[in-house]
């Protein structure tokens, strides 16, 4: 215990030097900027700044690159809330309630709670890393193909059970998401499925194109249909800050989001994206008055924002302690470390304590800087909402196109976005919630990959999924969730709860 505190102290002495503070500020500021801009994500930014970081000391370099990464999680939520364009994949869910709040004139509280929730989650995640890195790293190692498959299956079942409205529609949307996810090259055989001869579809449908189509462009079309007066988007701005009541209302939500995000972030392949979706879904189930979700419930912002920030930070655990990247940004950071002659792995903590603890401490400082940077900006951002629709809508569509294109510099992605917009519009008209579709799309390919890998390793024996306790546990959980839906008594209760 004392060790941890002396280690954190060591980290603080490294992170608070003027030079490292400056790099931390540069990183988190840059991160916020690229987070706000759709399309340019942390991966691109970190890749572009790599050569510069080679000339820095490794600790300063990592502090800056890490700042970009978690700064982007902050920035991504700003556009999600204000103009319904998630700047980052992990803020897709934030736009659900966040943008509704903005339309009701509560953009300020939404942005405020996003910043505060993120700060709290970031603080907790810093301590999770400090105390829990070694045991958590061991947990991640327990996850083989079987465990991943069962975890994802459980996640998909949960998406159905917890969806708003008709269960049939939710199942249909998950299945459609799975179908969309099938497109592209199959990892096991290399065969191109459902690419219809288009080179641009060889790697499947791009997530950014899909999410921007459904949440960005399709939403614009639906809004165009409604008779809107010119200034509808400037509904009374109201208070810029979340009230004390708002904050108190969100406390349990933020706690749950942080806990879930911290755990999911550790799993390779999980990270911020899975964390934000799961936290939102969980919140809808356990929170009181769940019918408000999707209509501008402040908890619908607090949950994913705290979860994605916690997840973004704890995803450093497998990178720093095992050398396993849980996402592309982490893969880049491993590259950056290796260039400095440091091989990520269990020995970093003992061989280079000043590096390890310096980064951990800088994360907390970076989060503090982000709140200081972002909260005063809220007022400015909110004024952006005064932009009339006739300017705002073309801008949204334009940004979506730029965003979809820049991910892979691939024109096909824009065409794909246009087609999915049509589809997304139909879904919105039919009152089908897109969240289960997105989850099916994200989890489906991972689930298939791990299912087939598990079966390859077991030479076709399905018992591999029941033989390990972790995998079995997830499967039982999934079965129980299904039972919940099937049991008539519970179903009736669920419907009552939703009609309420």
């Amino acid at each position: 215990m004392m060790d941890v505190f002396s280690n954190i102290w060591l980290g603080l002495t490294v992170a608070v030097t003027l030079k490292n503070l400056a790099y931390c500020l540069i990183g988190s500021f840059l991160g916020t900027v690229v987070g706000v801009l759709p399309g340019i994500g942390p991966v691109t930014t970190v890749a572009m700044l790599m050569p510069i970081s080679f000339t820095l000391e490794p600790t300063s370099a990592l502090i800056m690159l890490a700042g970009i990464y978690y700064g982007a999680q902050y920035g991504g939520s700003t556009t999600a809330i204000l103009i319904n364009i998630p700047g980052e994949a992990s803020s897709v869910v934030t736009s659900l309630d966040g943008h509704q709040m903005a339309r009701q004139g509560r953009a300020g509280p939404a942005l405020g709670i996003a910043a505060l929730g993120s700060f709290f989650a970031g603080t907790v995640a810093t301590f999770v890393i400090a105390f829990g890195a070694p045991p958590l790293a061991k947990l991640a190692l327990q996850f083989g193909p079987a465990e991943y498959f069962s975890l994802m299956l459980c996640g998909l079942v949960a998406a159905v059970v917890l969806a708003r409205g008709s269960i049939i529609k939710a199942i249909a949307m998950v299945l459609l998401g799975l179908v969309f996810g099938l497109s592209g090259s199959d990892v096991n055989s290399g065969v191109r499925r459902f690419t219809y001869g288009f080179q641009g579809l060889a790697d499947g449908i791009e997530f950014v194109a899909l999410s921007m189509a459904i949440y960005g462009v399709a939403e614009v079309i639906v809004n165009l249909e409604k008779k809107v007066d010119e200034n509808a988007s400037t509904a009374p701005v109201g208070s810029v800050w979340p009230s004390w009541a708002d904050i108190r209302y969100c406390i349990p939500t933020v706690l749950r989001g942080t806990a879930l995000g911290s755990v999911l972030g550790v799993l390779p392949g999980g990270g911020a994206l899975l964390a934000s979706f799961s936290a939102y879904t969980l919140e809808k189930k356990v929170a009181k008055a769940p019918r408000n979700f999707g209509h501008g419930d402040i908890r619908g912002v607090a949950a994913p924002e705290s979860a994605n920030n916690a997840g973004a930070q704890t995803s450093f655990i497998p990178m720093l302690t095992l050398g396993i990247p849980s996402n592309p940004t982490m893969a880049l950071m491993i590259g950056a470390l290796m260039v400095h002659g440091i091989t990520p792995g269990p020995r970093v903590m003992t061989d280079r304590p000043e590096l390890f603890w310096g980064i951990v401490a800088s994360m907390w400082i970076g989060n503090l800087l982000l709140v200081v940077l972002n909260l005063p900006m809220v007022g400015i951002w909110v004024r952006l909402l005064r932009t009339p629709y006739r300017l705002m809508f073309p801008a949204i569509v334009g940004f979506c196109c730029i965003g979809a294109y820049t991910v892979n510099a691939n024109v096909t992605d824009i065409v794909v976005m246009a087609f999915i917009t049509l589809f997304g519009y139909i879904c919105l008209k039919l009152d089908c919630e897109p969240a289960p579709l997105i989850l099916g799309f994200v989890l489906g390919p991972l689930m298939e990959e791990n299912l087939r890998r598990g079966l390859l390793i077991s030479r076709g024996d399905p018992m591999i999924f029941l033989n390990t306790p972790i995998s079995l546990g997830f499967l039982i959980a999934a079965a129980l969730l299904l039972l919940v839906v099937a049991a008539p008594a519970i179903r009736r209760k669920r419907e009552e709860a939703l009609v309420e």
Binding site: V43, T44, V46, A47, M48, M50, P51, F54, A140, L141, F143, G144, P145, S185, V187, N188, S189, G190, V191, R192, Q199, G200, A202, D203, P268, L322, G323, I324, P325, P328, A331, L332, I334, G335, M338, V339, G341, T343, P344, G345, P346, R347, N408, A409, N410, E449, R453, L456, I457, R459
Partner: protein
């Protein structure tokens, strides 16, 4: 120079290079009339950021900027196992301003893919094969396998028990494993991952028994022996693993797998530009700073001439074509 052209050149440069090149535009128009290169050169990296191509590509772009006196801008164009980015260069104007950095996938793809959007030997020309890098044979630590002959013996004694990991169908780790099976008669099940790095947790827990991995992928796990290195696949031992014998030394004569990298240009690129580019590459590959950067990820400099590179490319094409056909590997 017509007005239209004067407008188009900066405009397309702006679109292609993004804001980073805005500063160089001033230089561009002033130097338009001078010899190659008189505007920024684009180096396409056909994979996502984070891999060895990305790292070597950005290092080279920075060094070449100095050697050519014009910005060389690295640009990721990932997709379809490198085909998308390579294709974009094959279709670019043959003026030396668009280049692509590729690995052995450039010669493997034409054999493996049922249809290719471009013809490698007709539409692209080697500027230089810039580097070599061996693969490293790693095994699960709990197995009693300490050498290549142990691995062969274990595979023969335990038929149906061996799995080997790769970075996907038709990648060098996959074909190296295939070549190993063809040479030794050992049978192992191929378990593809999206990248070789993802396979290490499964190797540490012995779900996967061995892999032919890139050095960059292996380093985080071999420095503290979480997986065991038994050999490297180069002609000579790797400076990164001086104690590990080459597979050839260990008894499989002539077994060599090279994760080389080459820079290619559209085939009709004029000789003047090719020579200038090749010369610049030869120069930067002697720069101690560049060599230091490459050595950190186990990449050894090479710097062939264009003709040497073309001959090497054909040899590599033939070598992997045979492995693919003998192993009856198909994307189906």
């Amino acid at each position: 120079m017509t007005i239209a052209r004067a407008l188009r050149a900066p405009l397309s440069a702006l679109v292609l290079l993004g804001l980073s090149s805005a500063a160089s535009l001033v230089v561009t128009s002033a130097a338009q009339a001078q010899a190659f290169p008189n505007k920024p050169v684009r180096l396409v990296l056909p994979y996502s950021p984070g891999g060895i191509i990305d790292y070597v590509g950005r290092t080279m772009a920075q060094a070449l900027t100095g050697a050519l006196g014009q910005p060389v801008v690295a640009e990721n164009r990932p997709g379809a196992g490198g085909i998308t980015g390579t294709d974009s260069v094959a279709r670019s104007p043959a003026d030396g301003y668009t280049l692509v950095l590729m690995d052995p996938a450039i010669v493997i793809n034409p054999t493996l893919q049922p249809s290719m959007p471009y013809d490698l030997f007709k539409q692209l020309k080697t500027v230089s094969i810039i580097s070599s890098s061996p693969e490293v044979v790693v095994v699960a630590p709990e197995l009693p396998i300490k050498s290549i002959s142990d691995l062969i013996a274990y595979g023969k004694a335990n038929p149906g028990k061996l799995n080997f990991a790769s970075a996907g169908i038709g990648t060098t780790p996959h074909l190296a494993g295939e070549l190993f099976q063809q040479r030794t008669g050992v049978v192992a099940t191929h378990i593809p991952y999206k990248s070789i790095g993802q396979s290490y947790p499964d190797m540490m827990s012995n779900k996967v028994q061995f892999a032919f991995s890139s050095i960059a992928g292996a380093l985080p796990f071999t420095t503290d022996n979480r997986v065991r290195v038994i050999a490297t696949t180069g002609k000579t031992r790797s400076p990164v693993y001086p104690d590990a014998p080459t597979v050839d030394e260990a008894g499989l004569k002539g077994f060599e797998v090279d994760l080389w990298l080459g820079i290619f240009a559209p085939a009709a690129t004029p000789a003047e530009a090719m020579d200038k580019l090749n010369g610049a590459m030869q120069t930067v590959l002697k720069d101690p700073e560049v060599l230091k950067a490459l050595a950190k990820v186990g990449v050894e400099p090479r710097g062939t001439t264009s003709a040497e590179g073309e001959a090497f490319l054909k040899a590599e094409f033939g070598k992997w074509k045979k492995v693919i056909e003998d192993g009856n590997i198909k994307e189906n």
